[in-house]
Symmetry: C3
Subunit: 439 residues, 3 copies
Amino acid sequence: MVLLQASTEALNYTWILIVSFLIFFMHAGFAMLEAGQVRSKNVANQLTKNLLTWSIGVVAFFLVGTGIAGIAGGGSFSWGGTASGLGFIDFLYGAVFAMTGATIVSGAVAGRAKLRAYITYTILLAAVIYPVVISFTWSATNTGLVEIITGTPFTDFAGGMIVHGMGGIAGLTAAAILGPRMGRFNEDGSANVIPGHSMTFAVLGTLILAFGWYGFNVGTSAIYGADGFAAAQLGQVAITTTLAMAMGAIAAGAVAWFQTGKVDTLYVANGLLAGLVGITAIPHTTIWQGALIVGIISGAQLPIVFKFVETKLNIDDVCAVFPVHGSAGVIGTLLYSFVAAGAWSGWTPNVGFMIEGLIPQVVGVVVIGGWTLTATAVVWYVLKAMGEARVTPEHEQEGLDVSEHGVETYPEFGSGESVVADGGIMSEDIEATRGSKDD
Amino acid sequence: MVLLQASTEALNYTWILIVSFLIFFMHAGFAMLEAGQVRSKNVANQLTKNLLTWSIGVVAFFLVGTGIAGIAGGGSFSWGGTASGLGFIDFLYGAVFAMTGATIVSGAVAGRAKLRAYITYTILLAAVIYPVVISFTWSATNTGLVEIITGTPFTDFAGGMIVHGMGGIAGLTAAAILGPRMGRFNEDGSANVIPGHSMTFAVLGTLILAFGWYGFNVGTSAIYGADGFAAAQLGQVAITTTLAMAMGAIAAGAVAWFQTGKVDTLYVANGLLAGLVGITAIPHTTIWQGALIVGIISGAQLPIVFKFVETKLNIDDVCAVFPVHGSAGVIGTLLYSFVAAGAWSGWTPNVGFMIEGLIPQVVGVVVIGGWTLTATAVVWYVLKAMGEARVTPEHEQEGLDVSEHGVETYPEFGSGESVVADGGIMSEDIEATRGSKDD
Amino acid sequence: MVLLQASTEALNYTWILIVSFLIFFMHAGFAMLEAGQVRSKNVANQLTKNLLTWSIGVVAFFLVGTGIAGIAGGGSFSWGGTASGLGFIDFLYGAVFAMTGATIVSGAVAGRAKLRAYITYTILLAAVIYPVVISFTWSATNTGLVEIITGTPFTDFAGGMIVHGMGGIAGLTAAAILGPRMGRFNEDGSANVIPGHSMTFAVLGTLILAFGWYGFNVGTSAIYGADGFAAAQLGQVAITTTLAMAMGAIAAGAVAWFQTGKVDTLYVANGLLAGLVGITAIPHTTIWQGALIVGIISGAQLPIVFKFVETKLNIDDVCAVFPVHGSAGVIGTLLYSFVAAGAWSGWTPNVGFMIEGLIPQVVGVVVIGGWTLTATAVVWYVLKAMGEARVTPEHEQEGLDVSEHGVETYPEFGSGESVVADGGIMSEDIEATRGSKDD
C-alpha cells in the first residue's frame, strides 16, 4: 500500500472544522449561562433568543453580512453564496465568531425586550454592525480603518475587542435604552437584586463556554502558518488562555470575598469568563507572566464594574455582559503592549514599545466601540420610538415565557412564593393568570 | 531532527476518532432533550434508558449486529471481535451511528413502556433491525437491495433515512402499539397536553445534538478521499448542514407563530433538529439554495405532522420523534434529486434528472421504512401479548422513576399541584404514596 | 500551488490539543455529576469548588507542581514557566490529567468541608501530592520508584491508578477524617440516605465525563509513535474503552437489580464511570474479551463497595468517589496481567506471565495508594486540629451555599418540606433563617 502524504492545507482545515464545531457549541454555553441568570418565568424566552440568534443570524451573515464586510472593507460584495469548497468552511469559521458576538447582547436585554425587537437587532448586527467592525480590521481588503488612521496594525488575535468588546458594548447600550426590569431599581436609585433561577445552569454554561473558548483562542492559530508548523504560537496561546482564565476566576472570587466575606459563585464563574475575554485579543503575544496579570485585572474589575453599572449608571445588565465581555475585552486589548514579550527586558520596561503599541489599540477600541454604540443606539431608539422595544408591564410581570412563547419552562415546579425573588414586587395578578392557564 | 510526513490515512483516522467522540456525545443530547420533555416523575426512567441504550446496544452491535449486517449484505458473519487495529475504530464509527438510531425510539415510548420491554427491543434493534437496514445500503457486500431493485444506488450520505428515518418510524410504530399515556387523549379523541418538566434541559439537549451533528454530517466525509483532499465535499457538507439547521428552526417557529401568535420554544428547538435531519441524507450534493429549502420544508412540516399524529392518529409520540426524525428524514431523502447541483441549470429544472434520481430514493424509503415498521411491530405486539410491554396503571400514575428504578429525580422539588400537568388527571393516590415514601 | 507536507509532529500536537480540550471539559462533567448528587442547599458550594479546583489547581501545578515532579523524579526543578512552544502544550496536556485527579476529592467531602480547607488541600494536591505520584511513574527522570523496587515498569496507560485511584483514595481518606454529614448515620451505625437534588444533572455529568474520557484514554496514545502510525494501539484503546464503559453500566445496574428488584439510575451511571475507570490503566494492552471482564468487575463491585464503605466503615463518601474512582482504579490496575493479550493462549492461561506482570502492579498500587493516603491524612488532620476542616453545625444545616457563598442556587424552587430529604433531620431554624433572608 502506498501511503499518500497529508498536506498542511488538509491538516489546517481539519483543525478549522473541529474548532468551528467547538465555537458553535458555545451557543449551548451562552444559552445555559443566560438561562441560569434569569427568573424562571423568562427562561424559555432566553433559550428561544439563543436558538434564533444562531439560526437567523447565520443566514443573515451568509446572505448579506459577508458581502457588507467586503464592501465596507474596500472590496466587493462577495457574499456567502459566491463561495464554494473551502470558502464555505472559511464562512462557517467566520460565522461562529460573528454569532458569538451577536448572542452576548441577549443576556443584557433579558426579561423585558420584545422578541421581535431582539430579532430585528440581531439581523442588523449580523448583516451590518459586525461586518462593519471586521471591515475595520480582520476582513479589510485594504489595511483597515485602524491601520489607516494610525499607520500601525490593530492587534486583536481572536476577537477580544472585535467580538467580545463589541458584544458587551452593544449589550450595555441596548440595556440602557430599554430601561431596567420592573422593580430592579428603587426611586432613590438603589438597586434590588433579582437573582437568577439556577446557579447550576449558569455554571454549566460557564464551563461549556470555557471548553469552546479553547477552540476560539487556540483555534484562531493555524496549525501551519507561513513559516511552517506554528508550534510556538499554538503553545503560547494555549498557556496564556489557560492562565488568564484561571486567574480571572481567582481574582473575581477574591474581590467578592474581600467585599462581603463570601466567595460568590457567580462572580467566580463570570470572573473565569472575564479572564478568558481579557486574554482573547492577545493570547499569541503575551508572556505567561503577562497572562497572569491580564487574568487578575480582568477578573478583579468584574465586581467593581458590575457595581458601577448597577448603582451609578442604574443600567440593568441582567447577565453582566458588560463587565464580562465589554470592559474585560477593552482592558485586555489595551494591555497588549504592556504584557507582550517585547515590553520587558527582564524587570526593565521598554517604555517606547509600550507607548507605540498602545496607540493603535486605543484607536481600535474607540473606533469599534464608537461604531457599535452608535449603531446599536440608533436601532434601539427607533424600536423604542415605534413602541416595539419592550413588552407591556403586564407581560413583563407575567413573564415572557407565557406572553411571547406560550409555554411554561417548569410547569411542575415553583409556586406563589417565587415572586418574592422578583425585585420585591408582589404580583397577585400573575398568579391568577398562571392558575387559570393550568386549568 | 528529521520530520516524518503524516500519511493521509493517519489524518483520516484522527478525524474519524474525533467525530466518533462527537457523535457519541449526542447521547447526552438525547438524554437531555428527552428528559426535558417528560414529566418529572419519569425523568430517571428516561435517563436510564438512554444510558442503557448505549451500553447494551453497543455490546449487542459488537457481538452480533455487525455479523448480521455482514450476512444480510451477502457476506460473512464477520462480527466486532474479528476486527483489530483500525477495524476497531471503524466499528466504533459505525456503532455511534447505530446507537443514534436506537436511542430515538426511547423518546416515543416514554412514560409507560416497561424497562425490560424497551431493553429487549433495543437489543433486537442493535443486533438485527438496524444491521439489516445497513445491509440494504451502506454495508452491503453486493450493491445492496435498493440498488439491486432499481439499478441505481440509494443516496443517504450520513443516515437521514438509514439512521433518523428508521428511528422515527420505529418510534412511531412502538408508540402506536403501546398506546398513549393515561389521560393523553379524551374519549372523543381530543388531546390533552402533558408538558415536559424542563424546557431548559430540552434546549440544552437540542444544542448538544446540533454540536454532535457536525460530527455526524461533516464527519461522514473523509478528509482524504480517492481523489485527494476532499475540500469541496467537506465545505459543501459544512454549509448545507449549517443552513438547513438554521432554516429548520426559523420555519418551525414561523409556522407556530402563524398558528398561535406565539413562537413556541420547543417547536423552534425541534425545528432546528428537523432541519438537521432533513439535510442528513444529502448534505454533500445539495446546493446551498437547496439547503435553505430542505430546512424550510423540514421545519415547517414539524408542527403540522405533530398535530396530525396527535389529533388524527391519536398516537402519543411523547418527544415528537416522528416529525423530527421520521418525516423529516423521509422528506430530506426524497428531496435529493430536486436540490442537487445537477437538478438545475440556473432557473431551469432538469426534470429527467429529478425523476431518475427520485426512483431509488422512493424505493429506499419504502424498503427501509417497511422493514423497520414490520420488525418493530412484530416485537412490540409480541411483548404486548405477553403482557410485558407496558407498566401497570398504578406504576404509570406513580411515575416510572419510583416503580422501575426506586428513585426520585428531584426529591426536594415539586409538590401536589404538579399532577395538574399530567393531562388533567387528578391522582390523590400518587400523592399519598409519595408522601409515605418521604417518611 | 505547492502543497507542503504535514509532519507527524504537527498531527500529533493537533491531536494533543483537541484531546486536552476534551479532558478539560470533564470539569463540566464532574461539576454536574457532583452538583446533582448533593442537596440543593449545597449545590453552589459544589460548583464553586469545581471552578476553583481547576483555576487554583492549574496555577499551582504550573508554578510549583511540575517543578516538584521534576525534583521528586530525580531531575531538576523545571517548572511550567521554563517551558515554551510545544512545552506549553505538554504542560496543558499534563495539567488536565492532574486536575481530573484533584477534582475527584470534592465529591467525597461535599456538604461539610470548609471552602478554605478544600482549597488548601487542592493547592497541596496540585503542587506536591500528585507531582510526587507522577514522579514515581510517568514523569520520572530515572525509571521511577516502582520500577526501581521491582525491576519491571509499572503499567498505567492513562491514569487508572495515577489519576483515578489516587483521587478516589484521597477522597475516601478526607471524608473519613472529616466525618459524615449530620444525620447521615444513626447512633447504632445504620445509615440514612440523603438523596442528591437532581438525577438529571448527575446523568448529564456522567455523559459529559464519558465524552471527555475518550480524550482521556484514546488521547493518551499518540497518532504517530516511534514505529509510525499507531493504528493498532489507537484501535485497541478505542474498543476496550467502549466495551468496558458499556459493561460497567450493565453490571452495576444488574447487581442493583438483583439486590432490590429495581434498576437504580445512579448505579447505572456510576457503573458506566467505574467501567471507564477500570480500563483506564490498561486500555492499550487488554484484549476485547478482557475489556468486557474489566467492565463487569468494575461495575459489579460498585454497589458492593459503596455499601461496604457506608455500612461497615460509616464513611460518608457523598458522591461515591471511592467505589467509582478508587476501588475501580485499583482493580483495573491489578487486572493488567490477567486480561492482556499475552495472558492467554486461546483458553489456556499463561500463569507465569500473570504472576510476573502482577508484581509491579501491586507495588505501584501500594506505593501510590500509601503515599496518597498518608499525605492526605496529614493535611486533613492538621486542618481538623486547627478547627479549619469543617463548617459549623449551624452552617451545615443552613447549607453551604448561604454560609460560604452568600447565594441560593434555586431561589424560586424548593420549600420547607425539602428538609425531610436531609437524613431525617428537621430543622426549623434553617427555615426561619431562609425565610428572613427572602424578606
